[in-house]
Symmetry: C2
Subunit: 537 residues, 2 copies
């Protein structure tokens, strides 16, 4: 068989040739831009030629601080296709961390949306590797800026070559992109994506049994393009010639609903928070929206509340697909679809299966292990999820923490899961959050989910606190809804019938707010400290 | 990213673990066998362990002379997963050619369906590389045979290890299978399939925009498993956990209709002849069949008559998907699907597009070239189709003819095609059959298709005959339906409005029969000789 050829320039070329008139709909701060893959290809080739003229060479890292829009999409293909590396920077990290990752990756050029110009200006003296700054803006004039040299993306394109050919000798195992994990503790860790990994991942998510992305789809990634490649959707959609809708900066739930309605979006992807917002807009917003074009909502990042999925599906007829992955896995690992022989189950049983993380997609392997080896597939025994396969990272970029996470050819995800007799995985906890009580494990996520299903509870986080006899015991921190009340005893009475006795928290503590990270995840280390203080008092 | 791992043992393992109860329905000479992927996996591991005990080593070729049934499926995985090479032998080749390819591949073991025992016995002295013969049969007792040593597959399985582990160090580029082309002239040519090629091909055919093979499908490959891996369907179906229906030996159209009806087949694949037979059974057979489970009929191998597609779709509501490929391409290259913006075209226009060969699937590249370079995408200019990509052969196995077919990294398909503005390919002719008249090309297939659409014409073949002035001129050989008449003049009058004047055949010659190859293709070289004699008289 012929070798090689799983490279991103091939994906772009297919879209240019076969789908020149299929549209990319891009929302920027100045409105909506529309063009076809022919024009997208020409602009992509222009930016590649310009970067080459700026001295960018094979293997150089190019950082992007950008929203989901057409220019970012051009960077997605223009940078890797010329042999350089697309470094998507998570703009929600702290300025210190952003400076750290730009330095760590040694970015040579930064592509910056004008919204992030102040951010980059503030750290400009800390990022000496950057030789050129390119501003992503519709404005004709460049603003006054401390960055030097600062170019306008559009003015550079004017000088670019729309017929630029990708002749760089790229091996499919060469790096195409990189992304740093958003750390809850410590410094961000860099993950490098190869051309091969991205290509295979694009195939995998487009399988009929995965997200089934097709030419006939109108794909709207709401998950940011700076977060695990927007789950690979822009790559797959381009390859297959789907229409793309890129929702741009600072969108609201109302705006997303409007885009779905107006552009006839068929598939969209994002974290549960986004869909909670959309649901609220549908239920209480002023406008009526037509959501009937939607055939699938991909939901991942964290576990989606069952009640939300039920409401979307029964009230609005919008099918949810729960998925699991992480920055290290490009990201798709599992996807929750019923098996055909489960079609006859009761609706609630089906929903219970589909609210789990699902089973592994073709091309990857998973196993669930604890101290004694692989756990039984009984849906009860907990173990850490290990993953391997051709779109799984094999290391962190220049990082000593590689040896902790990558062992014997497997990625240790740090997620504690159960696996049932159908091979369906359910996240029970993060390794570091799990409560180890008397040699047994207690899932904080299970306790939190049940607590948060209580009418009076707005948020709940459970952490393990040291215990002289049992090693650790769970304690729950609870934030109540405004204008509601619930006593400690009421909550204990509510929990009791739902858990084994030894799973029940030793205490429930009411708080004003639970500390969170920049991306909205519970900051359990900090909570543990706070509770520690409180419990000792 | 992690490397490697695109190997067939991974596919099998996924089916065993995730789909243990999904069924394989296999028809053999003694009836229908049903089992799940758990049992299929155990039997597959048994046969691997047995072959190892028989001395089979990594890289050894194992030949199969077998129908589409469960034992052949076990060989599909059991042989490559242990590092050996599955050589599927086309049992419709002449005994001389079968002996040639067994020798050329140096098959070490042969798996033989009892139907082909006499065939192998007849050539036994000509195939010295074969050390063991294994009989695929349900019979308890082995028949008397000249083959030595001859084993019973089922008795060997009894001794095999159902937990045999695939620990052989296999690289994804290692050979997994091989298949020889059915030659119309000269000796058969061997094509070697790698683990990687088969895996990527399995992904490609399962994409939503290709055949969309899914766990929920009931897949019935009618195309033989000795012919380009039954178009890859057994590999993909196993990987994805689809139900499989394997129709076994000597099936009739009535039997296929019954299997579709009884087993609720959702997707099937085969050559146009098969579907012509099925159509006749549906129209004139004694029984009524329920075909409503079918969501797709994959049709390839040669061009499907438009009238047949129309009848299947309008009368029986059975959607056809036209595809193109060859032994050298694993085989899928193009697949005929409408683009979403073509949905509003008139039914006849859509059918006209879908009766072409379609556009290239993701992962491959095609180009169409003539003497002056790439042809325009205008649907008129003819050129040879070139293909490249990770599931395209890069050579013929130990064969000097490699240098003719593989040039500059491309496979020259030998097919003359047009490509239209949408990138849709239409086969005009085989290179060697094309008529070159006065520097211009005439498609014999176009002439034949129009002739065969005439009510009185049963078969028509057009060949080029030497001409002193024009180099070559087309001559048509026509076989009329029994009990019908048509004069030469009538046929000329019928052709005239449909072609440019210089495309019209110089003569139309009525015949009793057109010479054909073992697989039912016109043997144009022989026809050319016959006509040559007739024209000189």
């Amino acid at each position: 068989m012929m070798e090689g050829s799983l490279t991103l320039d091939k994906m772009l070329e297919r879209a240019e040739k076969l789908f020149p008139i299929k549209q990319i709909v891009s929302r920027t701060s100045s409105g909506i831009t529309r063009y076809g893959y022919k024009e997208m290809g020409e602009r992509t080739r222009r930016i590649s030629s310009v970067l080459k003229n700026l001295g960018v060479k094979k293997g150089d890292k190019i950082g992007t601080l950008a929203w989901n829009d057409h220019r970012h999409l051009e960077a997605y293909f223009g940078i890797p296709s010329m042999g350089a590396v697309l470094h998507t920077i998570n703009i929600r990290l702290s300025p210190q961390h952003i400076a750290y990752i730009i330095n760590h990756a040694e970015d040579k050029v930064l592509l910056i949306d004008s919204d992030f110009l102040p951010l980059v200006e503030a750290i400009k003296d800390e990022i000496p590797s950057v030789q050129s700054f390119i501003l992503l803006t519709d404005d004709e004039e460049l603003p006054d800026s401390k960055l030097e040299p600062l170019y306008s993306y559009e003015r550079l394109l004017d000088q670019g070559d729309p017929t630029f050919e990708y002749t760089e000798d790229i091996d499919e195992n060469d790096p195409a992109g990189m992304c740093y994990t958003s750390a809850t503790t410590g410094l961000p860790k860099g993950v490098v994506y190869s051309h091969r990994g991205i290509t295979l991942h694009s195939m995998a998510i487009s399988l009929a049994d995965a997200a089934a992305i097709s030419e006939s789809d109108v794909c709207m990634p709401v998950v940011p393009m700076f977060h695990a490649n927007a789950w690979g959707m822009p790559f797959a959609s381009t390859w297959l010639g789907s229409t793309q809708v890129l929702p741009g900066p600072k969108f609201t739930p109302a705006l997303l609903a409007e885009l779905i309605d107006q552009e006839n979006v068929t598939i969209t992807a994002g974290v549960p928070t986004i869909w909670l917002g959309l649901l609220k807009e549908l239920e209480t917003g002023e406008k009526e929206y037509d959501m009937s074009s939607l055939r699938a909502v991909l939901c991942g990042g964290s576990a989606a509340p069952l009640g939300m999925i039920r409401k979307f599906e029964t009230k609005y007829n919008i099918p949810f697909i729960h998925a699991y992955g992480m920055t290290e896995t490009t990201p798709l690992v599992t996807l929750s679809r019923l098996k055909s022989y489960q079609d006859d189950l009761a609706e609630d049983d089906k929903l219970a299966i589909r609210s789990k993380q699902g089973y592994v997609v073709p091309g990857l392997e998973t196993k669930v292990v604890n101290d004694t080896g692989e756990v039984e597939w009984n849906g009860e025994d907990m173990g850490e999820l290990l993953v391997r396969g051709p779109w799984i990272a094999d290391s962190y970029y220049n990082d000593e923490r590689t040896k902790d996470a990558f062992q014997d050819g497997w990625l240790k995800t740090g997620d504690i899961v159960t696996i049932d007799s159908e091979g369906v995985i359910k996240i029970a906890d993060r390794t570091k959050d799990l409560v180890k009580s008397g040699g047994e494990w207690i899932s904080t996520i299970d306790l939190e989910n049940v607590l948060m299903a209580h009418d009076a509870v707005f948020e709940a986080a459970v952490v393990g606190v040291p215990h002289p006899e049992w090693q650790e015991r769970p304690v729950a921190a609870v934030v109540l809804h405004p204008n509601t009340t619930a006593t400690k005893q009421e909550l204990f009475d509510y929990l009791k019938p739902q858990f084994a006795k030894w799973w029940l928290p030793d205490d429930i503590i009411f708080m004003e707010e639970i500390p969170k990270t920049s991306v909205g995840k519970f900051m359990k280390a900090k909570l543990r400290e706070q509770l520690h203080d409180q419990l000792e008092v």
